[in-house]
Symmetry: C2
DNA sequence: TACAGTTGCTAAACCCATTTAGCACGCCAC
DNA sequence: GTGGCGTGCTAAATGGGTTTAGCAACTGTA
């Protein structure tokens, strides 16, 4: 970048005052005793020259760079959690900050590099984000570094922002209950028996807990639970197909995410069953898919933007807020049918 | 960020040499006449203290911050073009650079703010990206600012990276031709008659041109062209349904993008027609949707990652490369059936 | 009149690096 | 013995801001 910028010295010179005076006036320092006239001259000069402070130079002295480091595994580069970035970017912009975005692919070596890179640039704080909520191990950071975990947790840094999965799980079941569903409900994507030993993520466990607690509270039971290792459409398709072939009377499906639900739609369609007249479906995430499906999929959404937003706000507020749970919004579309009572 | 870092002065002190010597040695300056012993002592000291230079301080002197500004309308925050960011992020990382990511939502005021913000931080260059390739108007930048347009063009800054849509358009038609399709081919999403006056984007025009040139080269004609204003699944569904209801003998669809194709699958499914046995489909973008569909959708992909990558490489190389066209990869899945000749 | 207290402003240090200019020493040649 | 040169290193300037310490002039009070 060539073409030298206007500096504070230029402003001071034009205003006929010292650099000190110019600095104090432009920063609106309260206790200074500079005259109104001095204020006017400096402001006019700055205006006239189009002066903008050099953030790097200022940061050298003040240790504030108005810059946040956003380090994630694959958040920026996959579509699943890009809402996290969106919310964070917006909140940062509103606070007059800017975000350095780095991705590590979850590799420890790149992660260490990323941390060093943002620290070298004197960021005001770091947000660590993961696509799938999980405990994140991060190397030692200089004492005093502000950190917020986003969709992640960490033993040393307690401030973290997570979706309120337990409540979300309850909401999903409640949608079915409110529509009058009492039997023929299957869970697609999770089977506690089979998955006793697998750890998917801290939040999936909570989602399941919420689902089960709402089922129990309503005296309901799943007549089937299909375990799925990967939560992709293909898997949802196979799983639902297998369930259908076992010949049960399926009336409603709780799918662990929208991609599974997408596969379920495909299997149901092939079997000549219609959503929601024959089978109601409720799911999680509010993936863009959910709106594309016919009929639209009713789902309990991941509040990614709100989470990203809160992470930045917490980071800049500097307080240790512990775990902040963001409510998961219920997005009603047309995949749940009312069941006549009786 | 508290906890003061190790500075060059610390290293110099520990090595028993001047700061000058330490700086020169750590930067590997060639013409210096410092002794091997001095080199060893400085390197050891830096190692021992875990010294990392303060990029901001260095940038103040050298005008290089190893930081790139990435300003886009909605690239980071929607899933459609996040590949652009991914490629750029990777290339930046490989070059030891870091990216400041800002989004403007396409609003001129936010754009001006974004430009000022990255300029205030002395970035080494700026990449302007758009989700839908288009001519982008940007305010005056200081002379000498390095700029690359990504998936966009600009009158003043000529270096831009775009998908090779014309060739991509040809590829799509060629897939059908190679499979033996000669008739019953419809175009979904574009009708030159209707859309004579609408400007979608520079690249859509090229895509269409490529499609038409390949059709002409093979002596083929579309028997129908469905214009669609928005390219969403819902629109693709309606459009295809309308086409089907007109009772033509549809054998193949060229869809302008994967979301339209998604809707086409739904309409075809409802009409009891199977892909690809009854109707073959080829499309564009290689959206993640394409892999979710059953059968998988054959599509000509947007090479977003490669584009992002090239944009960073061009920016850092500093040369004016004009328009760089990145080939669109053909992604073969199962939505095109072979037609028996005769 | 003299001393203290305000008022209005500035010189200089500082942040952390890079870079320019140049010093001190040893050696060689004449 | 001295001018010239190569060797090995450093003091100080620089980049663009913020901040501390303090100066000079004026006002008010005893």
């Amino acid at each position: 970048m060539a073409a030298k910028r206007v500096t504070l010295a230029d402003v001071a010179r034009l205003a006929g005052l010292s650099q000190t005076a110019a600095s104090m006036i432009l920063n609106g320092r309260p206790d200074t005793r500079l005259s109104q006239d001095a204020h006017d001259r400096v402001n006019a000069a700055a205006q006239q020259l189009g002066y903008r402070p050099n953030v790097a130079a200022r940061g050298l002295r003040t240790d504030k760079t108005l810059t946040i480091g956003f380090i994630s595994d694959v958040v920026a580069t996959t579509r699943f959690a890009s809402g996290l970035i969106k919310g964070a970017l917006e909140a940062a912009e509103e606070a007059g900050h800017v975000m350095l975005v780095l991705e590590t692919g979850g590799e420890p070596a790149r992660e260490a590099e990323a941390i060093a890179a943002v620290l070298d640039r004197q960021v005001d704080g770091i947000i660590f984000a993961t696509m799938r909520a999980r405990e994140l191990f991060i190397p030692d950071l200089p004492a005093g570094t502000s950190v917020v975990m986003l969709n992640a947790t960490n033993a040393r840094y307690h401030t973290s922002v997570l979706p309120d999965e337990e409540e979300g799980g309850r909401s999903a079941v409640q949608l079915l209950v409110d529509a009058g569903h009492r039997s023929g409900i299957a869970l697609i994507g999770q089977n506690d028996e089979v998955e006793r030993e697998v750890f998917r993520s801290a939040t999936v466990a909570r989602r399941v807990a919420g689902i089960r607690s709402a089922m129990a509270a309503n005296d309901l039971e799943f007549f089937a639970e299909e375990s799925i290792w990967l939560w992709e459409p293909e898997d949802g398709y196979r799983s639902t197909k297998a369930l259908l072939e076992r010949g049960n009377d399926v009336r409603a499906l709780v799918c662990m995410n929208d991609r599974i639900a997408f596969g379920a739609y495909q299997a149901l369609g092939e079997a000549g069953l219609s959503v929601p007249d024959d089978v109601s479906i409720v799911s999680f995430d509010n993936d863009e898919l959910a709106a594309y499906l016919r009929p639209g999929l009713t789902t309990v959404g991941l509040p990614h933007e709100e989470m990203g937003r809160r992470a930045v706000e917490l980071l800049l507020s500097g307080q240790d807020a512990g775990q902040v749970l963001i409510p998961m919004p219920v997005v009603r579309r047309r995949s749940i049918a009312e069941v006549p009572q009786g």
